[in-house]
Symmetry: C2
Subunit: 313 residues, 2 copies
């Protein structure tokens, strides 16, 4: 009954000559999603963006870019190889593939090393490891091609392990209603004016996509016993307010530990300190494709004494 909440992410930016990606049609995106082992559950469409809720996380498609995020045992690299069969790699401006270390790596069909072997065949690039073996880690690949992200091309991720407090009750309760979860998350407070699409999974789990213009936010919660996980990601550039936003999201989940990952086109650093959490694993890299990536890990310090978890008998 273990479910892997940790996610893989694929971002592809295409040149204008590749044509608007949304014109490729829903059948194309459906087949791409299915190739990784996921299904489309619903679609929210606005002038600048199509947002798909997936059985394993989310897909956002703009005319010049798509971002696919998948959890579980999905093989996200298949979406890249499938995409490159339709759009030649010559028409690609940038590719970033990111993979968080898993809770249950032996249940995965691939690891980042084997993913990389496949990717290098179709789109040679560079790979980095953020973080130490045995700790929170982020694996990252990008295409070997000069790219200049726009000034507003900022992405922030808050990756939360082992949710606690009230959040644990809200998300693990059986037959929970979307309305109760929305009331707990209060996302309109942080993202006013966004259009929303959400889904409550059986027996538990919650996903929500929000879009407004070219901006998105997405949250995925896998509250399963043995390894609960919640991810928050947005391309809204909160600037110096980012720590306040992260604090607000954090208060909705109260995790045992979390990581912050930011992609920026500039050197503006995000210093985030959460009360009660100690920060370790501060990693910074200026990628050759233009993005500056910060990765920090934060652990609840002096957490309460707990019992061990009996199992397997």
């Amino acid at each position: 009954m273990l479910f892997e909440g940790s996610e893989k992410k694929l971002e592809v930016v295409v040149a204008t000559a590749a044509g608007p990606l949304r014109a490729l049609g829903e059948e194309f995106w459906k087949s791409l999603v299915e190739s990784v082992g996921a299904q489309i559950l619903s679609k929210l469409s606005r002038a600048d963006c199509d947002a798909y809720l997936l059985s394993e996380s989310s897909l956002f498609v703009w005319d010049n870019k798509f971002t696919m995020i998948t959890c579980g045992r999905t093989t996200l690299v298949s979406a890249l190889t499938g995409f490159l069969k339709r759009i030649s790699v010559d028409q690609i401006d940038a590719i970033v593939y990111e993979r968080k270390n898993e809770y249950f790596p032996r249940m995965q069909q691939t690891d980042f090393y084997s993913d990389l072997d496949v990717i290098q065949q179709v789109a040679p690039g560079f790979a980095y490891l953020f973080g130490h073996a045995g700790e929170h880690q982020l694996f990252l690949y990008h295409l070997d091609r000069p790219f200049k992200p726009s000034r507003s091309d900022v992405t922030s991720e808050l990756l939360m392990n082992h949710i606690g407090g009230l959040a644990k009750d809200v998300f693990t309760k059986c037959n929970q209603s979307a309305q109760d979860i929305r009331a707990h998350l209060q996302l309109d407070q942080i993202f006013p004016g966004f259009a929303w699409d959400d889904h409550v999974f059986e027996p538990c789990g919650y996903s929500v996509n929000g879009i407004k213009g070219k901006r998105y936010v997405t949250i995925h919660v896998t509250p399963q016993d043995g390894g609960s996980y919640a991810s928050f990601e947005t391309n809204v550039d909160f600037g110096e307010s980012l720590p306040e936003v992260l604090s607000q999201v954090l208060s909705r989940f109260q995790p045992q530990s979390f990581d912050v990952v930011t992609f920026r086109p500039d050197d503006k650093n995000v210093e985030f300190h959460a009360p009660d959490y100690g920060r370790t694993n501060r990693i910074y890299e200026h990628l050759k494709c233009g993005y500056r990536v910060h990765f920090t890990s934060h652990y609840l310090v002096n957490s309460a004494i707990q019992s061990a978890q009996p199992f397997g008998v």
Copy 2:
């Protein structure tokens, strides 16, 4: 070139009727060690204990007990099944099998779940998980049999990840001499009067066993890039001085993070706080076989900013 430093540990206590274990002879222990995929490198023998240095960690044999610790890709459970072919499970007083989460779990031949399947066939018992998925974890099994550890049956482990500072230089330098490493460790200061046996591995790595009467200490250092690891373990009962001893060992390795595991026959708790480290994952369990086990994880807080690690190109 990745090497797994994290260890598995097997402890077996036999009834007097099983006869002195050291009388089983060196050939028997050699075959047991080889069955897990390791080799005996050397042997230090004293009145109460035989201490073997292995190609992957250590084996200690007393007349009524043995403790085998192995790292790398070894299959330590084979030593238990092999042992039980010679000594019937009816003649066993206690079995404890412990497995630390690995740096590179996908390189392992088994995981704790499959280990447990094998063990339950020959020696039914209970299993526990200390720690959360994705964080430092300890898996633990013990035989389902009443056992009363003696008052002095205390074991302390200090499991250190990603050694730093001077230790990094001392242990990763090629062609390092045992003498230089001994001068760095100064183990006589902490363990006066112990007999020592040590080994410097090619291209790097260091193991040392020390014994005095029925007491042992063992240290294993795998300083390989990509995941350095050092473990310290002793059955000397330092009582209230344990934090001071742990601090001294810690200062020799300056790790990025570490865990403390203690087995005691009583409720005397060990509270260890290291300056600069935040403590999380406090787990306590009173095992049905009599031992009280404490497990705490400690992370260096506000560690210096680092670059990501390029790889795979």
